[in-house]
Amino acid sequence: MTSRLRVQLEGAIQVAVVGLIVVIALVASHMQPWNFPAFHPMRAFALIELAALAVAYLVVTRARLSPLPGAAVTATFTLNALLSAAWSSNASVTTDRALGFAGLVLAAAALALGAVDRPRVAAQLMLALLAATTLIAILGLVELWRAYDQAVLPATKQQGARYNGIGQNPNQIPMLIALTLPFALWFLRESRGRLRAVALAVVLLLAGSLVASSSRGALVAAFAGCVVYLVAAVPHRWKAILAGGTALFLVAAALTQLPQPAAENPDLYPEFGRTPSLGPKDIYSQLPLESEFGFPGENVDPGKTRTLFSASGRLQAWESAVDQGLERPIAGFGFGTEDETFVDRSYGFVSDAVENSFIGVFLQLGALGVALLVAALALPLAAWWRVRPRLDPEAGEVAAACAGAVVAGVVLAVPQSYLTSVGSPPTAAFWISFFLLAALAVRSRSVAQA
């Protein structure tokens, strides 16, 4: 009875993980009606369902509640986030978003505790994350056929056309792909026969979507994650992996430069896309708020083209956000307030967020929050690195793939604000991978003790 229930719960958890990732991506997408506010509560429903199933699994399997590396620090970080409602300028937003984050951490930790003595369960969860990402990538292709104008960001004078898939922008879904590409490689290595052809198709689909998006941060993150996985899984061939991986990365980077900038900027949505002037005294068009710094003037061509190495205005935005964070350096402005607190005043930068998870957390939770986050991220990676040689082959392979996903996530956190935004497509995948890595590091300890 218990064994049957356990298997049923494992299946249900896999479905719930796929459901959570897909629902979050749909809500964040450009696809109507899934991105309507009325659909937003589905995310909370999917998260609660997953957490309930994960806790039920712990009870049914009489799982041992081992302290996971990084879990205590992550719990402290989460408490800090919840507590920050006390000094936040928008307590209700802080409370809502901190509760969402706490729910995700709880669900991911419960899933990981169930995988401590069962690397097979960790592998099932990785497959679920990969299946969800693949489904989202396939939806992107459907969208490309159904609504080309939505699935592709047209070329401008600054950059060539970029593939959105179902995302609202070309960076959104590639972030999730970057995290799960190590899982796709793991799937390819582990599968045999016809399944291997499926795995190869998945790798090509995800890599192709990534390159077509020209998302440079996601590309670098995917490269880092895949190299970490492969070097850890096949350590004696590390030189060949590094050389081959670098060559592939350079080819991918070159491919992102193939779409050429347009001779003229496209005239998008002429009836909606402009702020109407309210008369000769309305100076908004001469001095746009979001372009206070570096505005070249009305109708002036800045003459800059997006290249592989241009920072898209990030450096100025980061500097401005750090300066702002220093106004409340210890405790910050309150969890979840990054998009309200940060004001984009740079002409070269287009985002409501800082686009750096660490600076974003500094703004939200101050220096203490950043210190807790960095410590939380480092502990499972350090624990895995220490125990890696002692892991049995099955657990070692699964842990290496999780480490690849976590490293990809950490690299991605530098050019993107997402680590604490539950509504961002890669966030749930990141924290599930993070806790799975911690669980697999603990497993080696328990095996060694046995």
Partner: protein, 146 residues
């Protein structure tokens, strides 16, 4: 069915309790620290906004150059000499100054509490702001009730 907590070695429990205690103390101490930082920042930004307001002088000045309209506040822009956008005051629906910008030396010095308007200590007559905006042909639908 049930959960089992993996035991700690002797002495480990005491260490965990100490770490938890330190974490709780630090987190509890954060509440007054966070509130103090919020107030200190509000004082600082309010002082900056007040100095810009003093530089502007009467809102209905001959140097009133124009306006900018945003979702949560409206801004009045004043010129100084050849600098058309020298000083700017942004006012929310309740008349609280939530942002002020001084561009007199060519760079923008920004004082802002737009993310925390309830902490602003600088208030102007919202009715007068509305009157000035109407005079510059801003339709009523863009203006809050004074």
């Amino acid at each position: 069915m049930g959960l089992r907590v993996r035991g700690h070695r002797r002495g480990g429990g005491t260490l965990v309790r100490r770490i938890v205690l330190v974490a709780v103390v630090v987190l509890v101490a954060l509440v007054p620290i966070g509130a103090w930082e919020r107030g200190r920042r509000a004082d600082h930004e309010s002082a900056g906004m007040r100095s810009v307001l003093e530089e502007v002088g009467p809102l209905d000045s001959s140097e009133l150059r124009g306006f900018r309209i945003f979702a949560n506040f409206e801004c009045l822009v004043y010129e100084r000499g050849r600098n058309h956008f020298a000083l700017e005051l942004c006012v929310d629906d309740r008349g609280r100054v939530v942002e002020a910008i001084d561009r007199r030396d060519g760079t923008a010095e920004v004082w802002s509490l737009r993310d925390d308007p309830s902490e602003s200590e600088v208030v102007v007559d919202r009715g007068e702001v509305n009157r000035l905006l109407r005079r510059m042909n801003v339709p009523d639908e863009y203006l809050p009730d004074a």
